[in-house]
């Protein structure tokens, strides 16, 4: 019953969020702020994670390929496809759920408990739309770019880890692997997943922030719930989308 209550309340909130904006110019300004906050400010962590992920994938794949009949360039192939199919979209989204999800829930939750949302409502502003819509839009726009960057950086990380820092394989073999049997649809699949994950992270976190009741303790709880439920939903929809788009 509680699940149905939350589902219904979430659907009603989304209805409010996607209603016609009051002043498009103000929403656009808010969108630029959110693009910087959710997209640009996440670039650093995405780059760091991607470098290490790429390096570790290459080294681990190399260590596990003991059969001399399997060509080494497959390590590069494995790194590329692992980054595209799973690591850059799902893992980066899970990391961003932690960073952005908690940020959104605590920001909106604090606005709720300090009556800033009430102040917006009193002025006649659709607070749900004004606060949440630019965040969702900013994430949906910026996350695919972050994932493309993550794939690129991850592949560089793989080269650093496998060819520069260790002698798992040669640079030539790694490049051959990167160019071997490339399926462009995998990129499309990855971007579709990321777009949905961006929506899940921002909308679920906003939901928990928007309906915060109480004080600082409840803001903290909302923030935790936002991260946990966003992450669980990302994993669930990862499974569903993989089955739908790749199977």
């Amino acid at each position: 019953m509680k699940f149905l209550f939350h589902l219904g309340q979430y659907a009603l909130l989304m209805q409010k969020v996607f209603s016609k904006p009051e002043k498009k110019r103000l929403y656009f300004r808010q969108l630029l702020v959110e693009l910087e906050s959710l997209g640009l400010n996440s670039l650093g962590i995405v780059v760091v994670i991607s470098v290490f992920m790429g390096a570790v994938i290459t080294i681990q794949t190399g260590l596990n390929l003991e059969n001399p009949f399997i060509p080494l360039y497959l390590i590069g192939y494995g790194t590329r496809d692992s980054m595209i199919l799973e690591f850059s979209s799902t893992i980066v989204s899970l990391i961003l759920a932690g960073k952005i999800g908690s940020n959104i829930a605590s920001e909106i939750g604090t606005m709720r408990v300090t009556e800033q949302i009430d102040a917006l409502e009193i002025m006649g502003v659709n607070s749900a739309s004004y606060l949440i819509f630019p965040k969702i839009l900013a994430a949906v726009i910026s996350f695919p770019f972050l994932v493309i960057i993550s794939i690129f950086i991850g592949i560089i990380g793989g080269w650093l880890g496998g060819c520069v820092l260790t002698d798992v394989l040669s640079t030539d073999a790694y490049i051959v692997g990167l160019r071997y049997y490339f399926v462009p649809y995998y990129i499309t699949y990855s971007l579709i997943k990321t777009t949905l994950f961006a929506f899940i992270i921002t909308s679920v976190s906003s939901y928990y922030g928007y309906y915060t009741e109480g004080g600082a303790l409840e803001v903290g709880r909302s923030s935790t719930k936002a991260v946990v439920y966003s992450s669980v939903l990302i994993l669930l929809f990862n499974l569903i989308l993989t089955q739908l788009l790749l199977a």
């Binding site: 009051e22 103000l26 300090t114 102040a119 002025m123 006649g124 659709n126």
Partner: protein, 250 residues
């Protein structure tokens, strides 16, 4: 004028307001007083539509606010200014941006005209030097002044204040009270103030409504309040030694 007719409100089957009817007159400061937990904040939030009432009517100049949808309420809300207990200023915006916000949302004026209005409002509440500061850099009294400036930015017809002098020293409290009173007269607003500060009652209260356990127990002027024989009201008004002493003197 705002009329509240027979409103009832409950949360999880616990009744908070019982059949409350009040008429708030234009150009006057109407004070709602009562102990903490008596239901005065719920009453104020019901009047402005932050809480939906279970039954009854809320009329803004004969327009039934309680039956309106979000879009219809918007026209009334543009005429409402509200000062929240903690100020409710937007943390991420400067003082100037806070006051600009309602103007940007609902005014068709040019940016220069809006800015002029912002500085007029800031001057009116005597904090014209704080326009570039952020809420975190302001004192409690200054936050209240900014909240008042934001509330009056769109020339409201109705002003609501939820405990405007809570957490302020007596001198600043009187300054805030007097400012609200002056603005009420200046803009001929219907002002409703939630308070449990008896100084506010004696200083600026034109009409006083006493709420006790969710019921309207007493209504009258600030002069009448000290002569009332209502037991619950007297318990509230003369709770402090100072007011007991005053009663003994008079």
């Amino acid at each position: 004028m705002i009329e509240v007719k027979n409103i009832n409100k409950s949360f999880n089957d616990i009744s908070v307001l019982n059949d409350v009817s009040i008429c708030f007159e234009e150009g006057k400061t109407n004070l709602i007083i009562g102990q903490s937990g008596s239901g005065k904040t719920v009453l104020l939030k019901c009047i402005v539509g932050l809480h939906e009432i279970d039954s009854g009517q809320i009329l803004y100049d004969q327009n039934d606010f309680s039956r309106m949808n979000f879009k219809e309420r918007k026209n009334i809300r543009k005429q409402i200014g509200m000062v929240f207990q903690g100020g409710a200023l937007f943390d991420s915006a400067s003082v100037e941006e806070n006051i600009l916000f309602p103007l940007n949302m609902f005014s068709d004026q040019s940016f220069e005209e809006k800015l002029e209005r912002v500085h007029f409002c800031l001057k009116r509440v005597n904090i014209e030097n704080a326009s570039n500061k952020f809420p975190s850099e302001l004192s409690g009294g200054m936050k209240k002044r900014v909240a008042i400036a934001r509330a009056i930015a769109l020339n409201p017809k109705y002003l609501f204040c939820d405990e405007p002098n809570s957490g302020l020293d007596p001198k600043t409290s009187i300054l805030i009270d007097n400012l609200i009173k002056e603005l009420t007269i200046e803009y001929n607003m219907t002002t409703i103030i939630n308070t449990h500060d008896m100084n506010s009652v004696s200083e600026i209260g034109d009409r006083v409504i006493f709420i006790y356990q969710g019921n309207k127990y007493w209504e009258g002027s600030s002069q009448q309040i000290f002569k009332s024989d209502n037991e619950q009201l007297n318990d509230f008004v003369f709770a402090s030694k100072l007011y007991k002493k005053i009663r003994e003197i008079y």
